[in-house]
Symmetry: C2
């Protein structure tokens, strides 16, 4: 993927059939592993479990922006996003999430952020 | 904008010349106003100021997903995103953010999330 001037890339990951859709602790570990793989620094984490099998919603704030997760167990679906600026390796973060969550399918949409004269990038 | 089955839409807002790029309290108020305009419910908020004019990074977790902000005062740039599922009015949230932050320019990229058989939507 093309290296950009700051700010950087924003990846949206639509995962079907992933693991841990109702396990906030496991999802936090997966996001922390992704931050670590990218060389990013975690500022804080917040995750919420919804009652009665309602899934998990959560975010890691990073010095380099954020990683979020929202799950719909009833749809077997997880929506994640990764936004990273600077020299953080966002593709390594995406690979770490896919390794940890092992989805049956994962669609990634990539958008360049803060490139005043550059169009959005469709999914590669 | 087309109404979707769940989960919903994800909007990426690239703002140049917005207000409050170094004011975490004002940015939190703007995000809370956006959540309120959409009819969304705030679960928690976390914002961080970077020292020495380094900007603000923060997120509101919602029952309907999230709103985030990351600012680069040195570039006069703010990157926001809004992800909302269910019946929340995401376009009302986007309008509320633009009203509160009054950017000189705002580019919005819209992507449908969790639509197994639907392609991503480019910026409208």
């Amino acid at each position: 993927m093309t290296s950009l001037p700051v700010p950087g890339w924003h990846l949206l990951l639509d995962m079907y059939g992933a693991k841990h859709l109702q396990d906030a602790a496991a999802l936090e570990l997966a996001m922390r592993a992704a931050a670590n793989a990218a060389g990013a620094r975690v500022l804080s984490a917040q995750l919420h479990d919804f009652p009665e099998g309602g899934g998990v919603t959560g975010v890691l704030l990073l010095a380099e922006s954020h990683i979020s997760v929202h799950t719909w167990p009833e749809l077997n679906f997880a929506a994640l996003d990764i936004f990273m600026c600077g020299s953080a390796d966002i593709e390594a973060a995406a690979r770490a999430l896919e390794t940890a969550l092992a989805p049956a399918s994962c669609r990634v949409t990539r958008t360049a952020r803060g490139q005043r004269n550059q169009a959005s990038q469709p999914a590669l």
